[in-house]
Subunit: 220 residues, 2 copies
């Protein structure tokens, strides 16, 4: 029996999904909660093998949830449930080690397949999503490469900082950046210094790596 926890803020969806899965044979739904915090509680109690996690939720969203959970329980597999137009979330969740990505509109058998595949160490990605991943994927900041940046900090970088990061991620030197952005070289250096401080990185190379993985190395 594979122990499964469902995390979704819509009670109706959550409960009915639970009932269906439960009746599908080799799946044991050990919990069904509405948010990440409740999930942590339930995990501690029941130690599920696989977690089905909605991506859009009030409070911590599924991406954050995946991060928190995989961080604390790396052995638990997380399958992310999403609607078709949730692009922004896709890469984040994969980055944190989600074992799959399923459209909410998938069939029951696809879902149970995904649970079993995830349980076995594989990953299931809906074809529709896979093509997005392939075409748009830029990178995963995978903690195994040592470059980790707090998303919240990354979020409130201002316009200039972003421009400078993009420039670095395209391989420009300080002098070139200075020329491009019409700032003195010293100012550019100061900006970089402060960016590195904020993101807790050591040098422009680490910054470039992070930025490339975030797909920030493209004009437009």
């Amino acid at each position: 029996m594979i122990k499964v926890l469902i995390v979704d803020d819509q009670e109706l969806f959550r409960e009915s999904l639970g009932i269906i899965l439960q009746s599908s044979g080799d799946i044991d739904v050990t919990g069904s909660v509405c948010c990440v915090d409740d999930a942590l509680q339930s995990i501690a109690e029941n130690k599920p093998d696989v977690i089905l996690m909605d991506i859009r939720m009030p409070g911590k969203d599924g991406v954050e949830g995946t991060r928190v959970i995989k961080n604390k329980y790396p052995e638990i597999k997380v399958i992310v449930l999403t609607t078709f137009d949730d692009d922004e979330y896709v890469y984040g969740a994969l980055k944190y080690g989600a074992s799959g990505y399923l459209l909410k509109g998938c069939s029951l058998s696809e879902l149970t397949d995904a649970v079993q595949i995830a349980y076995g160490g594989g990953a299931m990605i809906n074809p529709e999503i896979a093509s997005k991943v392939i075409s748009q994927f830029s990178a995963m900041a995978n903690s195994s490469n040592g470059i980790y940046v707090d998303e919240r900090v990354a979020k409130d970088l201002n316009e200039n900082e972003r421009k400078i990061i993009m420039a670095i991620a395209r391989g420009l030197s300080n002098k070139e950046i200075s020329g491009t952005l019409f700032l003195s070289e010293g100012t550019v250096r100061n900006y970089i210094s402060s960016i590195l401080m904020k993101l807790n990185l050591r040098d422009r190379t680490q910054l470039a790596i992070w930025a490339v993985q975030k797909g920030m190395n493209h004009k437009r």
Copy 2:
């Protein structure tokens, strides 16, 4: 009818696959060739919708093949066939826009599904491979970012050079690399200097960017 071209150097595999697919109903195998060059010929004649391409082939391999074909015929879908331990190739092919990645050991129905999904604009990735993609995927080198390295030169980098590049792509300093690879810091610097020369790049940041985009920033 979906027109399919098979590219694989093993004649037996290629021919039998062709026969099976042909008999599966809505697939029309318009060609079955042993190498990329022959494939280009066949494409010109038959304009297939989907190409099944082996990854290991003498001459141009499947990655190069995907690149060449997608470059000339972006509308043709390429599904890459691989064995389980072909990690090195995976990211390359996806980068060039492959519409799927299948283990050669997959079932016939998985294969026909994949063809249909690819034809419809989706992408099919074997669960086993998907998990690798998720855990190791690093980035797609999109030529629009200005860091270009001659593939032929890149190909004959030796073991140590690769190790150093990987280290740089993970954000390590020269001192750290020296410690990791048991070389003196000076030697590391010399290596880097020569790598930069070979690849025609200016500094470690550009090298890191390139390497990350090639997916070289992961252990093992």
